[in-house]
Symmetry: C2
Subunit: 328 residues, 2 copies
């Protein structure tokens, strides 16, 4: 299969053969560049994320899940800004063209793309070690993007959904075990919180998606906002299966595990009551886990009031590695 056939196949499978939803894409796949028409009252929101085999996913990962996840991690970034998904670009490096692999990959990516209302507008395919880079473009009303730098003293820290399940599933897989269905879904088919992100415009004062783990990502908010926070790690929402783990392990998974793709955001204390309605509308639990302060530090406590020390990177220092790609 040539590169050109491959691009065409991906295009048809991801967007649907009729390309009917490409109306705002003036020039699409098949030219040197895509040409996009931007509505007058919108700013453009852009993110790019790479998944590399053996780093971000196991060699045993199935193609359909990979197609889903490579797009999902980028949509999660759009969600964290409150943006509406519009177009994406796929740079796909794979060892050899394998039609059945590509069909599954495109199925997973296409299903999510259609449900999120985002259109594949271009890309590049090349041979090499398996690696997937997606660049996603969204739209936002001017000045309405949710950034990391607006958290203020006294505000509430909130997280969506459940934390720790993806990291738990990965631990099980790495140990040769088989995670349950909820673990599989959390690890391989995270659902970007697009609707929630849109609803948080005008409410959240800061927002981030939890890709590197709660402590690291909340740390980014605190750093950008020049603020501190105290959170209670025993308030962190999780599936029942996590409650059966030793408490230390459960707390570490939930604070430092990463790959959650939930949103962590801050809201003014006097708007707490709006969370209930929003959680219902988005069909997604929203849990207040702590409060912003002016300490300049992130302090984690447990239900009994004693300190908890997460293994993951905190706010004060990033000992750092380049193994995780959630920095953006």
């Amino acid at each position: 299969m040539s590169e050109f056939d491959l691009i065409r196949q991906l295009h048809e499978r991801i967007n649907g053969a009729d390309g009917s939803d490409l109306s705002a894409c003036v020039v699409g796949i098949g030219d040197d560049c895509a040409v996009l028409e931007i509505p007058q009252d919108r700013q453009v929101v852009v993110t790019t994320d790479t998944l590399v085999e053996g780093v971000h996913f196991l060699k045993t990962s199935d193609a359909q899940s990979l197609g889903h996840k490579a797009l999902a991690v980028n949509l999660s970034d759009l969600a964290s800004m409150g943006a509406q998904p519009a177009w994406f670009f796929l740079a796909l490096t794979l060892p050899a063209p394998d039609l059945s692999w590509l069909e599954s990959f495109a199925q997973g990516m296409g299903d999510l793309a259609r449900s999120a209302g985002i259109v594949l507008a271009g890309g590049d395919t090349t041979s090499g070690p398996l690696s997937i880079t997606v660049t996603a473009i969204g739209l936002i009303e001017p000045g309405m993007a949710l950034t990391r730098d607006g958290a203020r003293n006294g505000e509430l820290v909130v997280v969506s959904g459940q934390l720790g399940e993806a990291a738990h599933a990965l631990e099980i897989l790495k140990a040769g075990g088989e995670p349950g269905p909820a673990g599989r879904v959390a690890l391989e088919r995270p659902e970007p919180r697009l609707q929630l992100g849109r609803q948080l415009r005008g409410l959240a004062t800061s927002c981030i998606d939890i890709s590197d783990g709660l402590v690291a990502d909340l740390g980014h908010i605190l750093e950008a906002s020049a603020a501190g926070a105290e959170i209670d790690v025993d308030l962190l929402p999780g599936f029942a299966i996590l409650a059966r783990l030793p408490e230390e392990q459960r707390r570490q998974l939930q604070t430092s595990g990463g790959d959650d793709y939930e949103l962590c955001f801050t809201i003014p204390g006097n708007r707490r009551e709006e969370l209930g309605r929003m959680a219902e509308e988005c069909a997604c639990p929203l849990t207040v886990i702590g409060r912003i302060n002016d300490s300049g530090k992130l302090v984690c406590t447990m239900a009994d009031g004693t300190a908890f020390v997460p293994r993951g990177r905190g706010y004060d220092h990033f000992p750092g590695d380049t193994n995780r790609a959630g920095g953006r």
Copy 2:
């Protein structure tokens, strides 16, 4: 060095530490996404291209040249659409953080970025086999983008610059030799034809950049335009060093070599005289090499009128491989 330090370093070295040219980038590096302000009377032009070690460049390639080329191949796509460069995003996968390598890489990329007036607005760094994906965003006046589908019967086929030198240099390197300085520059530091692309708005009826080789890329124009063409391969412009090669080798390099990053475009026959002034303004030779016809085929002839058969992929079929990434 952590991922965060690495992103900051790249940012400062590529854009300059003051970030003074980031004015239209409402939210830049350091949040989940970049937020970009698009001028009201512009469409957005987007392209993405990946370079993989061992596929698009040799393991011996120096970092500064790689930084240049990874951006240049994307700028060349913007040039071929007539777009003005605006922002780019860098997804960098590298085996281990190596500060001196990164400094050189950022130097090469930053020098080109500043000269082209394009700003690094975001990216992702991760560990893995060396691979560089750049997504470049440009701006174009509505309806003015140069596409592949406008070539019409009787129009002239024109190429910019010199062809074949990059492919020749690669042949020499692969044989263990050392190409001359012009060959090195052609292969490692191609200059995207941005000014020419801008000037071709309103003149060229179709345009493409020559990344896959002239025959393959002109073939894309013919396919998109449902047209044919006849070109004289002995009219192809080349540096003197190519003239010393056996004629068959020279012709093959120039028609099928690829990696030229020159523009191939069509213009109406009655506007031929405009090429001279334009060549002078862009400091770039412009050579008429043939004419569009309605044969549906690309025919190559030599100076004596006999047919020449290029080794590279032609218009009628793409036997295909995924080793080259110039499809977009």
